[in-house]
Amino acid sequence: MKKIYKYVLLDIIQNKIVLIYTFLLLVISFSVFTLESNSAKGLLSLLNIILIIVPLICIIFSTIYIYNSSEFIELLVGQPVKRKSIWLSLFGGLASSLSLAFFVGVGIPILLYHADSTGIMMIAMGLFLTVIFVSIAMFAAGIIRDKAKGIGLSILLWLYFSLIFDAMVLFLLFQFQDYPLERVMVFFSFLNPIDLGRIQILLQMDISALMGYTGAIFREFFGNSLGIMISFAGLFVWVLFPLLLSLKKFKKKDL
C-alpha cells in the first residue's frame, strides 16, 4: 500500500496541471495581499478562491486522474494487492498532493501576511475542502464507468454544493419566512461542506456582529470550542462518507 501511495503521490506532484495550479494559487494569493491596502481585505478575496476555485479544481482534476489511471488500476488489481489498499492509496495520493499544492499556494502567503486565528481557520478549511472534494470525486468516478458522464457528474456535484444548494436554502428561507429558521439553518449548514467552511471562516472574521440574531445563534453554536469540534467532525464525515461509499462500490466493481 505504501508503495502504491508513494507512486501515486510522486506521479501527481510531477503533473503539470498540479504545478500550474500551485503556481496560480501562489500568484493570486501574493497579488491579493500586496494589492489590497489591508490584509484583512485580502483575506476576504481569498475566501472566494477557497470556496469556489479550490473545490472545482480538486473535484475535476481528481475525477480525470482516476479515469486516466484506469489501466494502471486494472494492472494493480491483477497483482496480489487488496482492492481496498489500491483505492485508498489512490485517494491518499490525490488528497495529500492537492493539499500540499493548496498549502504552498495559499497557506504560505496567509501565514506570511495574516497569521492569526482567521488565517489558520482559512487554511484548515481550505485543506478540508480539498480533501472532501477529492473524496467526492472518488465517489463520482467510482459509481460511473463512462469517463464523460463521470466528469459531468463531478461538475454537477460541484455546482450543487457551491450554487444550487444555497439557492435551495434561499428559496426555503423565503417560503418559510414566518417561522424561526435560525436553528434550522445551523442544521442546513452541515449538509454542505462549503457552507460549513464558509460560516466557520466568517465567524472567525469578526463579522458575526453583522448577523444580528442569526449571528448570535451561529456564534453560540459554532463559536465555542465544542461547536468548532462538532463542525470539524461534520467535515470529517464529509471526507469519509463519499470515500467509503466509493470504496464499497470499487470492491465489487467489474473492471
Binding site: L173, L181, M211
Partner: protein
Amino acid sequence: MKKVLYTLVMVCLVALCAKGKTIRVGKLKPFKSIQAAIDFSVNGDTILVDPGLYKEKNIIIQKSVTLKGIGFPVLDGDKKYAIISVKAKNVLIEGFKLQRTGRSEIRDLGAIMIYDSYKVSAINNILDDTNFGIYVQNSKKCTIKDNSITAYGKNELQSGNGIHCWRSDSLIIIGNKIKGHRDGLYFEFVKNSLIWRNVSTKNVRYGIHFMFSNRNTYIGNIFESNEAGVAVMYSKNIHMYNNHFLNNWGDAAYGILLKDITDSEISGNYFTKNTVGLHMEGCSRINLYKNTFNNNGWAVKIQASCDGNDFTGSNFVGNTFDIGTNGSLVLNTFTGNYWDKYEGYDLGRDGIGDVPYHPVSMYSMIIDSNPAALMLFRSLIVSLLDKTEKILPGVTPESLRDDKPVMKRIPL
C-alpha cells in the same frame, strides 16, 4: 496730606475686599475642613486646599467662592455620599481628585452636583469611581472643562452618567475624558450648548445620549468602543462637526443612532469600524456632507421613515454594505459621494461617473426582511444575485441612487 493717604489706603482695602480674601485649608492651616472654610467665607473668597485626604460628607457650597486644590487633594465620598453640591452662582471648582461617591436608588449621587445655578465651573478635576460624575441640573452658563472622569460600571442599572445635564442652557463642555459610566455624556432638555473635544470611551451604554436638546453643537469629540455606541433622539438644530465614532461593534451597537432628529447638520465626521455607522429613523432635513465611512458593517442604515436628508461629498470605503433601507419609498438624496464599490466609468474625464450608482445591494434588502438569510453571507449565489440586481434593479429601490458618483476618493 495724612487724610489723603488714609483715604487711599481705605480705597485699596475696599478694593482688596471686593476681590475677596484667601482662606487656606489643610492639616497645618487655620481650617482643617473644607466645609468649615466655606461656612466662614463670604462671596468672592478663594479657598485653597492643601494636598491630603478629606472625608467630608457632601460639601455644600451656597456662596460664590472659588475652591482650588493644590496638588490634587483627595475628596472621598466613602461610597455613601455625594461629594460637592453647588447651590450658588459664580462658583469655581478646580484641581481636586474626587473619588468613591455613594450610589442610591432614590437620589442621584455624584462627585460634583450643580443645582439651579449660574456660571459654575468645574475645571481640571480627576473623578474616580463615581456613580454620577458631574451632574448639572437646571443651570445656565456652566463650564465643565478638562476633567478626567472614570467609573467602573458593570451594568446599566448600577451605574450613573459621566456628565449628566438636565434642563440647562448655554453649557460649555470641553476636553473631558469619560470612561466606564452608563452614558458618557447625557443631556435632557439642554439648549444652546457647546460640546467640544471630549473623549467618551468604554461606557456601559452610550458614548453620548441626548433627548429634547435643541440647538447644540458637537465638535471634535471622540466616541469609541461604547457598548451601544451613540444614540441621540428627539432634537432639532443639532450641529455635529469632525467627531469620531469608532469601534462600536456588536449586535445592537451603532456608530450613531439618530431618532427623530430634524433640521440639523452633520459634517466632517468619521464613522469607522461600527456594525452600523449611522442609523437614521424618522429624521428630516439633515444635511450630511463630507463625512467618512470606513470599514463599517453597514455604513448607513436609513429607514423609509426619513425624508429630506441630503448626503453629499462623503467617502464610503471598505464597508460591507454601503446603504441599508427597509422599504421602497425614498425621500432622501445622495449626490456626489465616493463609493469604493462603484464600477462605472467616466468618459468625459470630469471626475464624475457617467452611470448612477445604486448603493443598496439586493442582499442587504434580503437580510432586512429575512435575517436568517445571513447564513448565505458571501456565498456564490448571493454575489450572483447582487450582480444581476445591479444590472436590472427589481427588489432594491430604484430611486435610491447617486447620479453623480465621484470617481476618486474625496480628500477630507
